[in-house]
């Protein structure tokens, strides 16, 4: 009953005309940006942050949440029509979505993606409503030692679950923490790594790094890979109608993948990408016609699409209840919230219920908007894919520049943005994952603060991190998350020898 009353309170906020507009605008902008090949939810979120300056925090988060799940959905359109996923979380959708489009069933694939996303998102919100307050109650007992260990786990999980080298992921995370502690140390007032310039006294704004490492680096990468002038032909859309038999066929996979996706999203490090692959492979194994997966099976579109949207909503659980993001995208969301003056965490449910319940209620509306927007309007929105690439690239560049300048009014930050863009390009070319860097950038300073507060409480005794059971277990899981990927190939080799 309490949850119902809270949800009604959330609806009273989400249904305010201005917030309704933000839900719609967020979902629409997310869908459009997510659709553009190369620009994923992190770029979409980073590009939209400047719009939240001066906004009420609940409105700002409602807008950003819409952008996030809109971008996840938008990615499926380019996956299906172009076989060029705009978002990593929709790669699995292209396995069967693109073959369907080649068979003249692009409309059907898009409709399945829309229904699956809607159900995945909606099921996941119900779970979010049930799980988040429970986790919030547990998190109230967390002290600085537990928070430090939780953040270590968040970082190691993101590193170990990325498909790139473990060492490179850890390097990216360490560099992210290094950037985060630049400027004046708030506990002692000491300057650290400012190189004697006043521009770095407040450290480096996370938006400069996020836009540089993701959006600007993506433009550079597209320029390098010949994205300047070449256009990719896209498949015609065709009918969006589904038969009764087809609806029946996809119902169970959507239900299963929605639940799986939600719990994958809650785990730190796992998110829409892993959720969608897990959903896809689970359905492939369960299906009697598993051999037709990859050749245009409708269940191969339904499963990853419901899982990725469910995971996207699931990833809000650690962000909103613990204040610790579990992925690059939610790290950018946390950064946006901090800019708006809100610190998510267990206290937020009590101190700012308007933000928490407002965004939960807005997700219901956002999912309805996504469905309404995507079914009738998708042929129209898909025309964005026909936009000349040279014009698109130069527009993304100006959005990045204005985003940074509008926040800091600093030419120095524009030059820093350029530097981070080139760093992001280098990282991409040489296989360094960017998500750990951005997550570490957001968590680094808070991590140091928690560590120092914990040590202050213990009088400098480091055993505080293992004396507290929750902290100890979190550190053990963090260590295992790093060790297991190293041990796995050795075990495989030993098994193969036997």
């Amino acid at each position: 009953m309490e949850a119902f009353n809270n949800l009604m309170y959330g609806f009273s906020i989400a249904l305010e005309p201005i917030n309704l507009f933000y839900v719609f605008a967020g979902v629409f902008a997310g869908t459009v940006i997510g659709m553009l090949p190369g620009l994923g939810p992190i770029s979409a979120l980073a590009l939209m942050i400047p719009l939240t300056f001066g906004m009420d925090p609940s409105s700002g988060l409602i807008l950003m949440a819409g952008v996030y799940y809109g971008a996840i959905f938008g990615g499926s359109t380019s996956s299906i029509l172009l076989n060029a996923p705009g978002v990593a979380g929709t790669v699995a959708t292209s396995f069967d979505g693109y073959p369907m489009a080649k068979q003249g069933q692009a409309g059907k694939a898009l409709a399945i993606a829309a229904y699956a996303s809607f159900i995945g998102g909606t099921v996941s919100i119900i779970f979010l409503m049930m799980v988040a307050p429970l986790l919030g109650r547990v998190a109230v007992s967390f002290g600085p030692a537990e928070y430090f260990s939780l953040m270590v786990l968040g970082l190691t999980a993101v590193v170990s679950l990325s498909d790139k080298s473990l060492v490179k992921g850890l390097i990216a995370a360490v560099v992210g923490v290094m950037i985060s502690i630049m400027g004046i140390d708030l506990q002692t007032g000491t300057e650290r790594f400012t190189f004697g310039t006043v521009h770095l006294l407040d450290g480096i704004e996370f938006l400069v790094v996020a836009l540089g490492i993701f959006a600007l680096a993506e433009v550079f990468y597209m320029l390098l890979k010949g994205g300047g002038g070449k256009e990719q032909p896209r498949n015609a859309i065709g009918s969006l109608k589904l038969s009764k038999a087809e609806v029946k066929e996809i119902a169970a996979p959507i239900g299963r993948s929605s639940i799986l996706g939600f719990f994958t999203g809650v785990l730190p490090g796992a998110g829409a990408t892993i959720g969608s692959f897990l959903g896809y492979s689970m359905e492939k194994r369960l299906a009697k016609d598993g051999d037709t997966f990859g050749k245009g099976n409708i269940k191969g579109v339904a499963a990853p699409e419901s899982a990725n949207n469910a995971a996207c909503t699931g990833s809000f659980v650690p962000l909103l209840t613990l204040g610790v993001p579990g992925s690059g995208s939610t790290a950018v969301l946390l950064g946006a919230l901090l800019v708006m003056g809100v610190s998510p965490g267990p206290a937020m449910l009590v101190d700012r219920p308007d933000v928490f319940w407002g965004v939960v209620a807005s997700m219901y509306l956002g999912n309805i908007f996504l469905l309404v927007l995507n079914l009738p309007l998708i042929p129209l929105i898909a025309k964005i894919l026909d936009m000349p690439r040279p014009l698109l690239l130069s527009l993304i560049l100006i959005f990045c520049m204005i985003g940074v300048y509008g926040m800091s009014f600093s030419v120095f930050d524009l030059l820093l943005l350029l530097g981070f863009g080139l760093l992001g390009l280098g990282m991409r070319l040489f296989g360094f994952p960017a998500a750990p860097l951005i997550l570490a950038l957001i968590l680094g300073a808070i991590m140091e603060e928690s560590m120092r507060r914990a040590l202050q409480i213990s009088g400098g005794d480091w055993s505080i991190f293992i004396d507290k059971p929750i902290s100890m277990w979190l550190l053990i899981i963090a260590a295992l998350s790093l060790i297991l990927p190293l041990v796995k190939p050795v075990l495989k080799m030993a098994k193969a020898r036997r």
Binding site: L51, F53, G54, K164, S165, V167, K168, L170, I171, V174, V175, V177, M178, I181, D185, Q187, T188, T190, R192, F193, V219, F220, L223, L224, K225, G226, G228, G229, P388, R389, P390, L391, L393, S394, L395, L397, I398, M401, I402, Y405, G406, F409, V411, L414, L415, L418, G421, L422, L425, L429, F430, G431, E448, M451, R452, L455, Q456, S458, G459, G460
Partner: protein, 160 residues
């Protein structure tokens, strides 16, 4: 002498960065009041961790995805300024020039120049559409930021 692979070159650069970082960490002044840990401890831990990771990276063999893919040979045949790496360098220089000119020349002129100029450079030949898009988007951004959101943007040489 055997040639260093990409991981080893990056590892050496990172090791240099870590050493420089550690040297700076050692120069962080001590806080006058005694505290369990001071401002320099965390940076020192980070510096040594990066150094250790650089050693591990030096020993790690690069996988196929860790090495940049070969660029399109057709693109490499183009005039120097239009080759892939030239496009990146020209774009980076243009952005740096944009940053420097933004305040003295103004947001509208520099931004229209940036959007129009880069789109034309990347190969967009419909100049009127290019100009109209650049003007439309930049003016819309300018008016939204200055009139709706109350964010100041430099006017420069234009009286708006």
């Amino acid at each position: 002498m055997t040639r260093l692979n990409s991981n080893q070159i990056i590892a050496l650069l990172l090791a240099l960065l870590a050493v420089g970082y550690l040297a700076m960490a050692w120069q962080i002044p001590t806080f006058p009041l005694p505290r369990p840990i001071d401002s320099d401890l965390f940076p020192k831990v980070l510096g040594f961790t990066l150094l250790g990771l650089a050693v591990l990276l030096f020993l790690e063999k690069p996988k196929a995805k860790d090495v940049p893919e070969a660029l399109d040979p057709e693109e490499q045949q183009q005039p120097l300024l239009l080759r892939p790496w030239s496009r990146v360098v020209v774009t980076a220089i243009t952005l740096a020039v944009y940053a420097v000119l933004l305040v003295p020349v103004g947001f509208v002129l520099t931004s229209v120049g940036l959007v129009y100029g880069l789109a034309a450079y990347y190969g967009y030949r419909r100049h009127w559409i290019n100009l109209a898009t650049a003007l439309g988007v930049v003016l819309a951004l300018y008016l939204t930021m200055t009139r709706v959101m109350g964010v100041y943007l430099p006017t420069g040489v234009l009286p708006i």
